[in-house]
Symmetry: C2
Subunit: 264 residues, 2 copies
Amino acid sequence: MNRAITAEKSHPANEVRISTRTNAQSGKHCPRSIDVSCASCRLSELCLPIALNENEVDRLDKIVRRNRPNKKGSHLYRQGDRFKSVYAVRSGSFKSYTLTSNGRHRVAGFFLPGEIIGMGGIASKTYVSSMIALEHSSICEIPFNQLERLSQQLPSLQQRLFAIMGNEIAKDQDIHTLLSDFTAEQRVASFLLGLSSRFSRTALSVTHFRLPMSRNDIGEFLGLTLETVSRITHALQRKGIICVNYRDIELTDIEALRDVVEPT
Amino acid sequence: MNRAITAEKSHPANEVRISTRTNAQSGKHCPRSIDVSCASCRLSELCLPIALNENEVDRLDKIVRRNRPNKKGSHLYRQGDRFKSVYAVRSGSFKSYTLTSNGRHRVAGFFLPGEIIGMGGIASKTYVSSMIALEHSSICEIPFNQLERLSQQLPSLQQRLFAIMGNEIAKDQDIHTLLSDFTAEQRVASFLLGLSSRFSRTALSVTHFRLPMSRNDIGEFLGLTLETVSRITHALQRKGIICVNYRDIELTDIEALRDVVEPT
DNA sequence: CGTAGTGTTGAATTGAATCAAGTGTCGTGG
DNA sequence: CCACGACACTTGATTCAATTCAACACTACG
């Protein structure tokens, strides 16, 4: 049915290499390139640099490490590792998961470009979950003690950090609502809407995207089984609200989808 | 069965008044008193002042407002109110709740002495949940822009704030696990253990305490109905693991309770 | 001392999990 | 480049844990 050509697909993996070419449209570098500075990164309006002036971004830039891209399935860090850095997703996507006491997986969250990873480890000095790349991805590493020191000198950076962390806390409250109040159908609908709005900041289309995660991942995140996720997506399709083809999702009626989450 | 005399009960409500008497045992003021300084507050090892030196605590102390005690059922703030301050619980307890789209309540969390309230509002500049006193309680108000300014000058305060917020993020992940993975029995057991360890920092007994919240509150927090909470607590009692008498809880076999959460 | 609110308990119902069998897709190695 | 095998996904039948509905008991507060 849907032959999706997503933004991801337009960057074949073998195109990822050191590059200094500028992005034709925006004058900003493709975030896949290793040597992109914060000032020239296409994601600078989403990420840490918001509200920093040119000089401040330069100073932030000096402590950011742009590592080699992460292969699909590779770990950024593991639960229990010593906390050293937070990370900003540059391209691709990650999932964080914990191993529960009974040995089962549980997905704690998904992370898309522009989002900050690893803040759960600040207090305990230990990462509280493992982080794994869902596809070929790249990140910026920011050593936290340096970030702390710098935000001591740059009030707007400190402010930005408090805001990012406060936002994380607020977001977790929404997940709490979802898990304690919502039916399976509401959860899946809410999940798709959330992904859509997060994709909208970087992807080509708000209504048509490719899921980077499996049904099982979605289930473990939403507190459902993979079978239920599959059943629900197809039920939503039968109602004409979305169009599913494996990981290819098209939201054909966003209003109806919102109505599933909050019946009016 | 259990005639509980809790720490709370030993401070009759009418004892709460302006006072400069020092606490006989510790030389520190009773946290109920309105004019207790941070330096002399019994909770200083739990709250913001940890890791601050004398001079730093004094400067923090200057921006803290010690408001009149909150009556049971009174609101500290409401969902949607403009964010101005974070609060430290001095005595008593609070619950935060949100009104979901369908008009139902949902309890986001409970807050005990020494814990910090309101950080979800930092990013949006608006409180994301309402906060209500579960009993006669008192708090310290800390205007956030002043706190930000001060932590710009005091590295250890900034560090402490990052740690508190990071801890909040890590804690939310545990709740996520609880809600997506645990059975009703595991949730209740985990909830009781969590309360116990939090009470242990300020209350007289780790194994015997009085719940400040109703079965309905617990249910809304754990994603269960009040009937289920009631059934489970009595099932745990029948197994000899706890002893319930309305809001009076005694953990008679903590090891067995841990075993309910993580079967070995 | 009465009553509204809070908690307990039972029976019936149901939404999602589990168990099970099959189909489709994609990455890999020949 | 194609074929194979592993994995991901779909779909159906059955089971079960928790909800819902309902009636009643206890407590605590004015």
